[in-house]
């Protein structure tokens, strides 16, 4: 008689259920845990669904009154004052101008930091520097906003571009946002670079490459999909960023490519209307959902694109 059979016999003797019975019992006792965890997962799914539904419903109300062509091609955005125009281009333009300028700052700096941390830095240095860099990501965005308005705009932007520049301008918001998304770029890129197998580096060294050549010609290309995905996630973060553009960019819809002017980004417009307590059901109220939808779609497309890139260009190593 094996030990297990003896246990079974003992269990039966004590009036316990048979082995299959115990498994069923165990499953039954597991069930609440399973249900609880499932409920947690489903809550986030339903929340997302709920947000999308509300967005769709209110956006639909908006487009019942305003043609989608006017919305997408109009160059004037004055939904609240005077003669009303509903062209979203000034807001869209400002959003992407600010986000792209932020990337112009964050991408080279973030990539350089990632290369340094992954290829050059002593492990001790990396252990110290990486968390410090990631602290930047933990600074509340409202602080970045006031930093942009009270320091970057008067002290940096005006130093380079003259004192006639508006205090509220797109460039100072871009700079603050660039600093904010820098750790996102560097941290994710560094992870991607570190995932490149050591054998590739050693192979390159073996044929006489120096450290810089290994970093730029072997490691970066090998980690490219990860770097691109990190950049796109960073842009989508910049596009959705709200506090910095609300505080520092100037709430003035303005279709211009000059970052020294004040502008209003999509997220900042939503804040402006929400602050004014616009009553439900009015056209003004629907505008924030139409703009919100635009914002949602922009970031969604970018996130999906980043996922696709990751999957498509992933270099697989053993």
């Amino acid at each position: 008689m094996s030990a297990e059979a003896a246990g079974n016999a003992g269990a039966r003797a004590a009036g316990w259920p048979s082995r299959p019975g115990r498994i069923a019992l165990r499953r039954a006792r597991e069930w609440p845990v399973y249900a609880f965890l499932f409920a947690c997962a489903i809550v986030s799914i339903f929340t997302t669904l709920g947000i999308v539904l509300v967005l769709f419903e209110e956006t639909y109300n908006f487009f019942k009154e305003i043609s989608i062509v006017e919305f997408l091609t109009g160059t004037e955005w004055t939904p609240l004052i005077g003669e009303k125009h509903f062209g979203v281009l000034p807001l869209l333009n400002a959003t992407f101008l600010i986000a792209i300028l932020a990337m112009v700052i964050a991408l080279p700096l973030g990539l350089a930091a990632a290369i340094y941390l992954s290829e050059y830095a002593h492990p001790t240095v990396r252990r110290l520097v990486k968390p410090v860099l990631e602290i930047l990501a933990g600074i509340p965005t409202v602080i970045y906003g006031y930093f942009a308005l009270r320091f970057i705009s008067p002290e940096i932007v005006r130093f380079f571009f003259g004192s006639d520049v508006s205090l509220f301008n797109a460039l100072s918001a871009s700079i603050a946002m660039g600093v904010m998304i820098l750790p996102l770029v560097s941290s994710l890129s560094e992870d991607a670079m570190r995932a490149v197998p050591q054998a590739l580096r050693e192979g390159a060294y073996a044929v006489g490459a120096n450290r810089f050549e290994v970093a730029t010609r072997v490691v970066v290309p090998a980690a490219l999909s990860g770097i691109v995905a990190a950049s796109i996630l960073a842009i989508s973060r910049a596009v959705g960023e709200t506090m910095i553009v609300t505080i520092a960019a100037g709430n003035q819809p303005n279709l211009s490519w000059n970052p020294l002017e004040g502008m209003q980004a999509m997220a900042a417009f939503i804040v402006q209307v929400s602050l004014g307590d616009t009553p439900r059901g009015t056209l003004e109220y629907s505008t924030i959902f139409a703009v919100g939808m635009m914002l949602f779609l922009s970031t969604l497309v970018m996130n999906v694109f980043a996922q696709w890139l990751l999957a498509r260009f992933r270099e697989e190593y053993e």
């Binding site: 004052i81 003035q252 004040g262």
Partner: protein
């Protein structure tokens, strides 16, 4: 919405506070409910001073950011007398405030202009009656950066050139308004469309309420406008006198010339009182009539009327003559509903309006 909270958690009695602290929250809640019932039933006979009867409850106030400094000052003082009444004062703008008020969400609405026809209808649709009480004068101030050395006085006509709808996209330099001014960029800062200051300014300068260019930096928060004007040599903005007084080291108020022979007049208590400043206007609070008998609301408005003169002057506005306060208080104590502007003729003074039966 920017809300400042005055007041402590709603603990109606020291012994209740003790109960809460000891964790008998259920017993405490039941007792609080009972106490609330007692207060509600005994509401009719609170003629005593606010300090005598400890009141409790919440008073929601929202509306004009221009009136906000007065109401907030009153709320702060009121809190010292009534620690258990929670007064929240929001700054949604006069229009934003009325939207909430006529939706039954607030008990008192701050307004920097009289209620409009649309808002009267909205209130009527929800069956909300209100008592209109003027509280102080404001001199709507036109301000520029202290480094601006080319303008000290501006005419109403020049303001219209700058701010009216046709200026949108076309008037972008100072010298387009007046050839004597430099060809510098004109950076404009003003309150948003939910603001009573915006309504008043557009009506009195541009000729029609809400008719304005839209390409300027808008904010319902006057501090943002102060920051903008203080930080930009070429800026011009407008808002209530209190925000200028508060920030007079950072910004410069312009004299305003009506263009009718009155000449250039600075915004100040004296020029408002003698009627020479062109952009002077009364500020109001609107009290929901059905809430006026709630002891905490009644005590708050009584307190407001007793202190409006002192506190409005403290925060930078201009107090009414005493007889106007007497009439305004009488309007409140008699709970006279509706707006006195429904039947107002052009040129009637506040005193004349308040004196009507």
């Amino acid at each position: 919405m920017n809300t400042e909270t005055a007041g402590e958690p709603n603990l109606t009695h020291p012994s209740l506070a003790l109960l809460f602290k000891r964790g008998f929250w259920l017993a405490g809640a039941a007792a609080a409910a009972l106490a609330a019932l007692v207060v509600a039933c005994g509401g009719g006979d609170t003629e005593a001073t606010p300090t005598a009867v400890p009141l409790s409850g919440t008073i929601d106030v929202d509306g004009s950011s221009t009136v906000y400094p007065i109401t907030e000052a009153v709320a702060e003082e009121f809190r010292k007398a009534q620690r258990n009444v929670k007064v929240t004062v929001g700054i949604s703008g006069t229009g934003g405030g009325f939207k909430r008020f006529c939706n039954g969400e607030t008990a008192i609405s701050d307004a920097s202009r009289p209620i409009t026809k649309t808002e009267i209808d909205a209130c009527a649709a929800k069956g909300i009656e209100y008592i209109e009480i003027p509280v102080a004068y404001d001199a709507l101030s036109v301000v520029v950066n202290p480094q601006n050395d080319w303008v000290t006085c501006i005419t109403v006509a020049e303001l219209k050139t700058m701010w009216d709808q046709p200026a949108q996209g076309s008037i972008t330099k100072w010298n387009q308004v007046n050839a004597a001014w430099p060809a510098a960029d004109l950076k404009l800062f003003g309150p948003g469309a939910d603001s009573g200051t915006f309504d008043y300014f557009t009506e009195h300068v541009n000729g029609k309420a809400k008719q304005s260019r839209a390409d300027f930096t808008q904010s319902e928060d006057d501090n943002v406008l102060v920051t903008g004007v203080a930080g930009d040599k070429n800026a011009l903005g407008y808002f209530g006198l209190a925000y200028y007084i508060e920030n007079s080291s950072k910004i410069k108020a312009l004299k305003v010339d009506q263009g009718k022979g009155g000449g250039c007049v600075s915004p100040s208590a004296a020029t408002v009182e003698n009627g020479t400043y062109p952009l002077a206007r009364p500020l109001f609070i609107y009290v929901k009539k059905s809430d006026a008998e709630k002891p905490e609301v009644k005590a708050f408005v009584d307190f407001y009327m007793r202190n409006a003169a002192t506190l409005s002057a403290d925060v930078g506005y201009v107090k009414f003559p005493d007889r106007v306060y007497t009439l305004a208080t009488a309007r409140w104590t008699s709970r006279k509903p509706g707006t006195m502007y429904a039947t107002a003729a052009a040129g009637e003074t506040l005193e004349q309006l308040l004196s009507k039966p």
